[in-house]
Amino acid sequence: MKWTMQDIDTYLQAKEYVDTAVIPLIPIDLKEDVKQKVSMGTFISTMADAIERQFKGRVLLFPAFTYIKNQPLEKRKSELIDWDRHVYEQGFKHVVYLTADGDWKQVEDELPDMLVWLPALPFENMEDRYLKQMIDQQMKQIIPLLTNKWQSEPKQRP
């Protein structure tokens, strides 16, 4: 489900079935490597949409957690932990942070739940058919991450 009026109605009626939050983590930066940041953002949004399509009935895809790239990592980490706590307390027992920004890997162990880091693939000029293939390939890796996560106990928050 998406963060839209239509989907949120479904969510409100079927809350007990929707236990997984997907939060894309997307950096903003107009100073350095602007295009690379835009590309990263597009890539993550595309993958987030694909995940949502696959797992529509159990996942709520949130609007991206967006931050200034040169903001200290500690600061955004603690903001993300706040998001996590909010959604966790509202019944999302599983939270997935989806990003292409390598910074997050440095603090992966300090995050309350699962970081899915994907190396950003540049697909600006890719033909649709290759784009589709590429998304499918990525999804092959991502699908088991989620289904396995669902088999295991939700991570406890401190």
């Binding site: 489900m1 529509k56 009935g57 669902w150």
Partner: protein, 167 residues
């Protein structure tokens, strides 16, 4: 009947009118898509979703196979490329085309993907299951069968239209 008095608009009334005006405008915005929706069946006759060539009959077997296809969809604002998936198989000579969208809450089902439930469609979200013909397995969350696509076979090619729900 109507007197001067009734026509005089006090400031408060004016405000109320204005607000209603804005509200009315917003309501119109909301009503518009609903009207479109309501009119849709009437328009359908002349404006069917085009049938898209998805597979050749030669490729099909008794075993459901997954086919992805895309087509352009136009709405009021823009044309977009939509990708859809269908599970196709042969039942004798008949082609069967099922939608992969779980009728519980919309996850994507997969054929024969769970060891414990061979030869069924399985939904990874809440364990929904469907028989090969798309009929939901009792005791799992979905309450109706998988949708079937509107379908046509011409010159050995399978064409699909919109998914149709069955009860």
């Amino acid at each position: 009947m109507s007197s001067e008095k009734e026509h005089r608009v006090s400031r408060r009334q004016f405000l109320t009118y204005t607000l209603t005006g804005v509200g009315g405008f917003m309501a119109a915005g909301i009503a518009l898509p609903l009207t479109r929706f309501a009119l849709d069946p009437a328009l359908e006759g002349g404006d069917e979703q085009e049938m898209v060539a998805v597979a050749s009959v030669d490729e099909l077997t008794e075993e459901p196979q997954r086919f992805d296809y895309s087509f352009e969809q136009e709405d009021a604002w823009h044309t977009s490329e939509v990708t859809q998936t269908a599970w196709l198989y042969l039942d004798g000579d008949e082609v069967v085309a099922l939608s992969p969208v779980c009728t519980h809450l919309g996850c994507t089902v997969d054929w024969d993907s769970n060891e414990d439930f061979p030869n069924q469609f399985f939904c990874p979200c809440h364990g929904g299951r469907f028989e090969k013909d798309g009929v939901n397995v009792a005791g799992t969350p979905p309450t109706r069968p998988l949708d079937v696509y509107e379908m046509e076979v011409r010159d050995g090619t399978v064409y699909l239209g919109r998914p149709i729900s069955r009860d």
